[in-house]
């Protein structure tokens, strides 16, 4: 992060569009309970700051909903899905929980690390990828899988994972969801065969 970017985060203000969204969010809560809106506001702040929440943003959130800074900070550190440090353009959350693990997520993660030349929790030098190991993301039927930014990429194997990363790097179009050509959603593989034959 260069200096100008840093100072941008030190004087955090919500953008016009986000302020509009916030107004609508706050309407859902009674006036003396605005603190309840801390999670959606932190999420907006994180989106506005390229995927992480600087302290200045937490301060601003606290100010908007009338709770002390430390209370916002408590929430932000409690939930692992809030990033408190800058991340790369593509935030890869690698699922390694049992179903994914049974389907080979460990090997895939190794391959991914090797390809990107980083460890979990690190960002590539070009600032494109950040890798993180996470728990089950609820897409076990298509295990193994990763989440990259807001999208799921499923049914991974070494080949299609590396291809996916390569495509992202080269800004090629990528397919969201299952990476197995021919599979629709989470349909059983048997069906897939049938579809192919039909």
């Amino acid at each position: 992060m260069n200096l100008t970017e840093k100072s941008k985060f030190e004087n955090f203000k919500f953008s016009k569009e986000n302020s509009f969204l916030i107004d609508n969010i706050l309407k859902k809560y009674p006036a003396n309970q605005l603190g309840s809106a801390v999670m959606p506001l932190l999420d907006l702040a994180m989106r506005q700051c390229n995927g992480w929440i600087p302290e200045a943003a937490m301060k601003e959130v606290g100010r908007l909903i009338n709770i002390p800074f430390i209370k916002v900070y408590e929430v932000a550190t409690f939930y692992s899905m809030f990033n408190l440090k800058p991340i790369g353009k593509y935030f890869i959350q690698f699922c390694t929980t049992t179903p994914c693990w049974l389907n080979g997520s460990d090997d895939l993660l190794e391959a991914c690390k090797k390809y990107l030349k980083i460890k979990c929790g690190e960002t590539t030098e070009d600032g494109l990828f950040t890798l993180k190991e996470v728990e089950c993301l609820g897409a076990c039927v298509n295990a193994p899988m990763v989440q990259i930014n807001d999208d799921y990429f499923e049914d991974l194997n070494k080949t299609n994972l590396i291809k996916l990363l390569n495509d992202l790097k080269n800004e090629n179009k990528v397919k969201i969801g299952t990476q197995i050509i021919g599979r629709r959603g989470a349909e059983p593989f048997k069906n897939m065969e049938k579809n192919k034959n039909a």
Partner: protein
């Protein structure tokens, strides 16, 4: 009322009580860490598990409300096993370093592991370690010992109201953290040391200076402000090791301000231990007889009209009473205890007292604060207002106050003259409409204004007109900030028969008309230090603070821990300090100096010792004779006309909370606070 059974014993508790309270009503003691009577319920330590019939698992009794016909058991095997389990988990990550821990001997964890702890550990993995945090110059942290009860966090949120602590991260990574590096800024921060059930938070100044079982405990009272908080002073080897609050629901609950808790090291710095007199413009030590002889000769040669005496923030009643008798006998009527040049009226007690009583803050429904900074002038009292405010249905209005009083209020600005404005007056009237227990707090701070007397009168009239004073309720309160002030006013250490007030004494000193000035511990007397050259100054006190060096005679006295002495708190509640350590060098109790002087000149004072002196005081001033209690004072109506106030702006914001008397100014602890905390406060203002 709800009826239920605890260990086969029938008990009755009010609706909404918790299972823990029911057990206590049945005489069962429940072990606990996170629960505290004066804080909200967290239910996160699980130490208080009990068995409730029909519930498959043991329940946390502190968080469980009672229901009719509940059957609770606290002595079953299941309960015992559950508690042992909880204890084992708590100790998994605890360093077990009791031998080097200051909490040792008074640690809840230590005590309870005696009953529920296993003698050996089954845990073989590595323990977690937590980095220590910087909580400032008063609080030492050893965060690895923390058991995450969150009492400290809740105290800061609820009682102190500064929201400076939080529990960050989660699970094994959970840590207690301050919002800003550099120290906690609250005036009440020391109380989290008492609250912490383990040795995670301990006192920094006290660190490693004594073990808790060696200390001698002494009950005394705090004189760092006018609240009169009850304290326990722990002494070891003739030295004061620490000061802790003592529970008194009527005054300080169980809290104490940081000044009262930590200023004790000032008692061993800068002390005066022998008399001095000025010889060729230098102060040289001498003995008592010479010093007194010089004073007597000087007095005999001087017209009493040119003699004056001012008492200070820490002066006890005995001294002011004896001094008053002495000065009366030599026809000196220029005496005043209002060293801060306050214009507070001096004839009726109801004019200067906190009439409603501190305890009754708990029931007020409207509050109007005028011209003071309760947060820094009476920190414990202010937190009581906050606690009342937190429970809801309290509206607060303010005029001429700082804006960070730890509760929300509507401000009428910082110009006192707006009290004369018709719209403002109507607003106030509307504000107090239908109020059952209205309260007005008028600061002594604003009474130091030149129009102080008129302000006082106007506020009185407002109170009278708005039914704030009724036969069953007196909502007019003055907030005094000096421990000595009420005592001085009560025994009439004020100018009489046309004598000069402190302000006039100051002016006459400036014009070189005054010949002799007695400064009785009056280091806060608001004069220009250069003017002291204009008169013969006799300094009587225990610290070489501001004025001792510029005096012609210096007489050493005892401090509040070295004498039994009487103080009256802002409600008018008389209480004694206790003699704990011996007199320093040749220092004596200040009243004895005036007794000795009287003997040498008029010899009219009859009492010879402390008990005779007290008897004489109580005979003349029966209202302060009921130790530990106060009597509601009769309201004397004002008949004086309203005077239009002129514009005068002040919000009393710049107060230095930590250094307000000779003891606190000599205290290194307080100096450290000023250095670090006032600095981090600046950061804090934008953060919290």
């Amino acid at each position: 009322m709800i009826k239920l059974k605890v260990n086969n014993k029938e008990v009755e508790v009010p609706e909404g009580a918790t299972v823990m309270q029911a057990c206590e009503a049945a005489g069962e003691e429940i072990p606990r860490f996170c629960y505290h009577e004066r804080l909200s319920i967290a239910g996160n330590c699980r130490m208080c598990l009990v068995e409730v019939e029909k519930s498959p698992k043991p329940v946390a009794s502190c968080a469980m409300p009672v229901a009719d016909d509940m059957v609770i058991k606290t002595n079953t095997e299941k309960v015992e096993k559950a508690r042992k389990g909880v204890m084992e988990f708590l100790l998994i990550n605890h360093p077990l370093d009791c031998p080097i821990c200051d909490q040792g001997g008074e640690c809840d964890l230590q005590d309870q592991s005696l009953y529920f702890g296993k003698s050996t550990s089954r845990y073989e993995d590595t323990k977690r370690a937590v980095e220590d945090k910087n909580f400032g110059p008063l609080i030492k942290t050893v965060m690895t010992r923390c058991i995450h009860c969150t009492r400290c966090v809740r105290f800061m949120d609820e009682v102190a109201g500064t929201h400076e602590l939080g529990a960050i991260n989660r699970g094994e990574g959970m840590e207690i953290m301050a919002a800003i590096e550099g120290g906690i800024t609250s005036e009440l921060s020391g109380n989290i040391i008492d609250l912490c059930p383990v040795g995670a938070l301990t006192s920094k100044p006290y660190a490693f200076t004594a073990r808790s079982w060696e200390l001698n405990h002494n009950n005394s009272i705090d004189i760092s402000d006018a609240v009169g908080s009850n304290i326990r002073i722990d002494e070891f080897n003739g030295e004061i090791k620490r000061i802790l609050p003592r529970e008194n629901d009527k005054i300080n609950q169980e809290w104490l301000s940081d000044k009262g808790r930590f200023f004790y090291d000032g008692l061993s710095n800068q002390r005066l231990d022998k008399p001095f007199y000025k010889k060729s413009s230098k102060l040289v030590p001498c003995d008592w007889s010479l010093a007194l002889k010089i004073i007597v000769e000087k007095l005999k040669l001087t017209n009493p009209d040119n003699v004056a005496a001012v008492s200070g923030a820490l002066t006890d009643i005995e001294t002011m009473y004896t001094a008053k008798e002495f000065f009366k006998n030599i026809n000196v009527n220029n005496i005043d205890c209002r060293f801060n040049l306050s214009n507070i009226p001096t004839s009726n007690a109801s004019d200067w007292l906190f009439n409603s009583g501190i305890e009754n803050i708990d029931k007020i429904d409207k509050l109007f604060v005028i011209g003071c900074d309760p947060r820094r002038e009476a920190a414990v009292l202010n937190s009581r207002i906050r606690q009342r405010w937190l429970t809801g249905n309290l509206d607060i209005l303010s005029l001429c106050t700082p804006n960070d009083l730890s509760y929300k209020f509507k401000s009428l600005g910082d110009d006192i003259s707006s009290l004369c404005n018709i719209t403002v007056q109507n607003n106030i009237k509307r504000f107090f409409e239908n109020s059952k227990f209205p309260m007005v707090i008028l600061g002594d701070s604003i009474l130091t204004s030149k129009q102080g007397e008129n302000i006082h009168n106007l506020v009185k009239i407002i109170c009278q007109d708005l039914n704030i004073i009724r036969s069953d309720w007196n909502g007019f309160n003055v907030l005094n900030k000096y421990a000595s002030r009420i005592g001085g006013l009560s025994v009439g250490f004020v100018p009489y028969d046309g004598g000069m007030s402190a302000l006039n004494i100051k002016n006459s000193l400036k014009d070189s008309k005054l010949k002799i000035l007695f400064l009785i511990e009056a280091d806060d007397f608001d004069v220009n230090i250069k003017d002291l050259k204009n008169a013969f100054v006799i300094y009587i006190g225990h610290h070489g603070d501001r004025y001792a060096g510029s005096s012609d005679i210096v007489l050493p006295t005892t401090a509040f821990t070295e004498k039994k002495s009487l103080f009256v708190n802002l409600e008018g509640r008389p209480q004694f300090t206790k003699k704990i350590t011996s007199n320093l060098g040749k220092a004596v109790d200040a009243w004895k100096i005036f007794k000795a002087l009287d003997q040498k000149i008029s010899d009219k004072i009859k009492f010879n010792n402390h008990s005779e002196l007290l008897k004489s005081i109580f005979e003349n001033y029966p209202s302060i004779s009921n130790i530990g209690n106060y009597v509601a004072q009769k309201w004397i109506k004002t008949n004086k006309k309203k005077v239009l106030l002129t514009s005068e702006k002040n919000n009393f914001n710049t107060n230095n909370f930590y250094q307000t008397c000779s003891i606190s100014r000599s205290s290194e602890n307080m100096a450290n606070c000023v250095k670090t905390i006032l600095k981090s406060k600046k950061v804090k203002d934008e953060f919290i």
